[in-house]
Amino acid sequence: MTFRQRHLALPVAVAIIAGCLAPLAVLVAFSFYEVEEFDLVPAFSFRAWGELAVSATDWFLIGKAVLSGLTTTVFTVVLGYPVALALTRLSASAKGLAVIVLLTPLYTGEIVRIYAWRIVLGGEGLVNTVLQGLGLIDEPMKVLLFSPFTIGLVLTYNNLPFMVLAIWVSAEMVDRRLIEAARDLGARPVDAFFRVILPLTVPGLAAGSLTVFALSAGEMLTPSLLGGTSGSTAMALVDNLFGTAFDWPLASALALALLATLFLVASAMAGLMLRLKGARAVIGRA
């Protein structure tokens, strides 16, 4: 066997098989096990899958994960795209500073950020105090904390840097002369955006969207610590089934169903975006 460039991928392939496919196989196996008197018994049982199939709660939570992933993706695209474009206009040193500012929240750790949000959004928190002080509201706004609004806000905040970075890298690669060429050929700035900049940043949009979707659909801590009664997630349920409830077969089945659903949605997103013209310019070149 001669050494070729593609053999460089071998270590990664081994890591993927050992670290990802093997555990999945274990999950598949567990999903057919039986639990008898707090003991896992290898049996070829469809009990877990049967329970999952008819559980409205489980499917509601899976759907909620998809919806949470999609809405977070949309919010981060809408908020992040202008930021990413603005970054391309900065001087080299300002870009360095901007990236530090962008990434700093990620270094603080999730739990710290979550408690920071509690302080900001709480009944006697920063936002309510300021609004009351200005006389804009009489009572503290309850919707700020422990609500679906909170989950959406914090998931968007947490994931924005990933979206901005992905789009920014893509936008930096757009040759500025192409924008001048578009203007020269009769495009107003808005036409140049939709016909040149947006199509050519599709690869960045795709990378950012898939990342943000994966991160936010599977998020558990933020909803459970900031979402209050609306904070239940499929992930938390899996955690619960593996832990306190000790129903590993059902936990495995639910985890696999969630994984398969998210994978399908992400594949659909990728497929859609790669069909767009801009993706060809970068990916279709081979």
Partner: protein, 364 residues
């Protein structure tokens, strides 16, 4: 006959056929003056070339006409309309960029159709794209993407894309500089033919004097943000306005001297190589420092009477059809063409065709 000529006169356009007029244009980037007060007229249907070394401001002039840069001072008028507040997309001017700037995500067809699609309401886009691609011999490439084309093909597509909307003026920013010599020669001929056929005025930027001479009706030589000379190619070549122009075009040897006598359009200049009488630039007076421009083809190894210069061969470069020889004469290297290579050190006698040489001003 009299009647006929009067009728002919009447068909002349009442207005001057001036297309573009730039007056007192200044553009500064930071501390450097890229364009330092230039006046430039482009007549209808002209092929005008801005020629100069890199950094002379020629591309900045082009970008101001296109609308990508705003002059700090001065006025640009197109068809007698001030362009100051007209954004690039509303100027009847299109550009062929140095890098071609084809849209990588669009096919050749969609690249060429870009401006017509933006306009909306154009029903014959397909026909016009076809015609534009035909004009540049690229009709069979409509379905390709830019990255599937060679440099020369991309250049043709860029030209097709910029002429399809029938601009009043086409700007070309060193469009051939990225191509090899042979392709450059082909495309020069095609561009010139296309310009004649379309009747659109071209403003062409290049640093290659051969290209400028081959293509242009008017050559504008620029130096440090100013216009050094504006004339037809023959005049630029044979009567360079100053030593910068003389040095920039061709392989001339410049010999510094002082004007000794002036008679009409001729003058006598005293140089280290001797005293020579030749046509001289206007305004040069007795006592002025000036420069004698000796173009290679004005030196010959044969002649009547006594030789103008004698020296020895310093170097000899074989160039195929001839050799370019540098002769050491009085500490200067005089370049001249020889039919065969000469060995270094050979003594040579040279005759100068002084009537076709030129005495010019020393550039500031």
């Amino acid at each position: 006959m009299v009647v006929e000529s009067r009728m002919e006169k009447r068909t002349e356009p009442a207005l001057s056929p001036l297309l573009l007029a730039m007056r007192g244009i200044v553009k500064t980037f930071g501390r450097s003056r890229a364009v330092d007060g230039i006046d430039l007229d482009v007549p209808e249907r002209a092929f005008l070339t801005l020629l100069g070394p890199s950094g002379c401001g020629k591309t900045t002039v082009l970008r101001m006409i296109a609308g990508f840069e705003r002059p700090d001072a001065g006025e640009i008028r197109l068809d007698n309309t001030p362009l100051a507040d007209v954004p690039p997309e509303r100027r009847p001017v299109n550009t062929v960029f140095q890098s071609y700037a084809l849209f990588p995500h669009l096919t050749v067809h969609d690249n060429v159709a870009f401006s017509l699609k933006l306009r909306g309401g154009v029903s014959d886009i397909g026909v016009r794209v076809r015609r534009a691609l035909d004009a540049v011999h690229m009709a069979d490439f409509g379905d390709r993407y830019p990255h599937q084309l060679s440099g020369g093909q991309q250049q043709r597509v860029a030209v097709a894309r910029s002429i399809i909307a029938e601009p009043r003026l086409l700007l070309l920013d060193e469009p051939l500089s990225a191509l090899d010599r042979k392709m450059r020669g082909h495309l020069q001929i095609e561009l010139k033919a296309l310009q004649r056929r379309l009747g659109i005025a071209f403003v062409y930027v290049t640093h290659d004097q051969e290209e400028a001479f081959a293509l242009s009706d008017i050559v504008v030589v620029m130096n440090k943000g100013r216009i050094a000379q504006k004339a037809d190619p023959e005049t630029i070549y044979s009567r360079p306005a100053d030593s910068f122009v003389a040095d920039f075009i061709g392989n001339s040897t410049l010999v510094e001297g002082r004007i000794q006598a002036r008679h009409g359009d001729r003058a006598t200049i005293e140089t280290a190589l001797g005293t020579i009488t030749a046509p001289a630039a206007e305004g040069l007076a007795v006592g002025d420092a000036a420069m004698l421009v000796i173009r290679p083809e004005l030196l010959s190894m044969r002649g009547e009477g006594s030789a103008t210069f004698t020296g020895s061969v310093g170097h000899s470069v074989f160039q195929g059809e001839r050799s370019m020889v540098g002769a050491e004469v009085g500490g200067l290297a005089l370049r001249f063409p020889a039919e065969a290579p000469l060995s270094v050190g050979t003594s040579v006698a040279l005759w100068l065709d002084a009537d076709r040489s030129f005495i010019t001003r020393i550039a500031a």
